[in-house]
Amino acid sequence: MDVAIVGIGLHPFGRFPGASGIEMGAFAIRRALADAGVEWRDVQFAFGGSYEVDNPDAVVALLGLTGIPFTDVYNGCATAASALTLAADTLRLGDHDLGIAVGMDKHLPGAFSADPRNYACPSWYGELGYFVTTKFFGMKINKYMHDHGISRSTLAKVAAKGYRNGALNPNAFRRKPLSEEEILASPMLNYPLTQYMFCSPDEGAAAAVLCRAEHAHRYTDTPIYLRAATVRTRRLGAFEVHSPWLPIEETAGPTVDASRAAYEMAGIGPEDVEIVQLQDTDAGAEVIHLAENGFCADGEQEKLVADRAFEVDGRLPVNTDGGLIANGEPIGASGLRQVHEIVLQLRGQARERQVPGNPKVGYTQLYGAPGTAGVSILSV
């Protein structure tokens, strides 16, 4: 059975003193319900993702205590992919006709931290200062640049694109364009990644209303079909965050696995995709994820970025809403923000940052600790 997205809603991303994560979640849900032309009482089930809000289902206190099954999920930076995938799968089971996936978060500033033992790492790994996600991203792109001939200038260009697109997005956290020179000159955090090449943890929420595809036109003239939604975890040999050791054998990461599974499920290949949202925790991650999701070969990014291929008016627009770099990352919400942007673009409602040429197929990808990825493919 096919699944359609008939409503989307977003609470802006940024810093909102006084607003709780749950309140932002309720805001996004109300927006999505209004977009679909339905009421909360019409929603038959929900999946809610968050890191900071331990019970996203508590949002019913603000929306209506209707007694629906409301399942809370958490999979690191891929949390929203889990909520979306499970919502689609629940519709396919056939017992429900209309449901919602929501993500919400409200992080303090600064790098994420946790007890390393909860990631199957020894305590000393954290004591010594290795339990730092940004360090992994620095190491991964540094190796990738060495192996595939990517320059620091390309990293700066990718980050600059994020801020430039963010400036066109009223819901973005960072709305000030930054030059490549400013990005390269900002403080080095983990070589070769500078401060302005990284996204920041922040606050926000996003939601999508899903239904069985055959009912979609009851709710909207512009349904967007969820052709695939997949989540994968790492296999032995993948180079992953929070790994005190790696085996000699090397294998592709979970993004590659989730991507291949999604293409297979959708019957759509990377050559068919016209607009893309990638996990750009840092500018290097966007560069690597372009290849891991099949949009170019390793190393081709250097020329493609220089040729402006991934700009809003480029050959394959990437992170048109500014991505994580401009929006920041409320972990639970981030992937549904990506879906929100793809739906807007496929409907032709993205205003100043609308991709020209009426794109028909969009793609989203999430990646995070401890080696979890999610992909979705959407089409008109």
């Binding site: 600064g110 790098a111 994420f112 931290s113 946790a114 007890d115 390393p116 020894p122 305590s123 000393w124 790994y125 954290g126 004591e127 010594l128 200062g129 290795y130 339990f131 730092v132 360090k135 620095g138 190491m139 991964k140 540094n142 190796k143 060495h146 403080p187 080095m188 955090l189 983990n190 070589y191 070769p192 990644l193 032995l236 180079f239 790994s243 005190p244 050791w245 790696l246 085996p247 000699i248």
Partner: protein, 140 residues
Amino acid sequence: MARVPVAEGVFTWPSDEPQLIGSRCNQCGIVTFPRQDSCPRCASTEMDDQLLPRRGWLWAWTTQEFPPPSPPYTGPTGDAFVPFGVGYVELDGEVKLETRLTEADPEALSIGMEMELVVLPFRSDDDGNEVVTFAFRPVG
């Protein structure tokens, strides 16, 4: 002042030629670091201790230019913080392990360079001991 390891069972200590302590799976032969009592490849629970080679080559690296969030980090912070290199060193044919590097200058680090194990001061504990950790330094 006593020199105590950051944790027991990570490297042989005290020793003039310390070695990291990993595990080797009795069934499939994979080597892990640190010790682990089940195999991440074949799920066997028959793991033997394995002393690891003291030399290898740099497989990946970056620098840590800001003090890591504390907790869990227990090293120097604020003005006392000194940026350090971090990388994976491949111990030929056995395992790649994440380690502090004695070098934090990007100009002095390159993938493929030969590295060797050293034991370095990390911090002082509340009893006045010097807490030491393993690290790798470029050879030559």
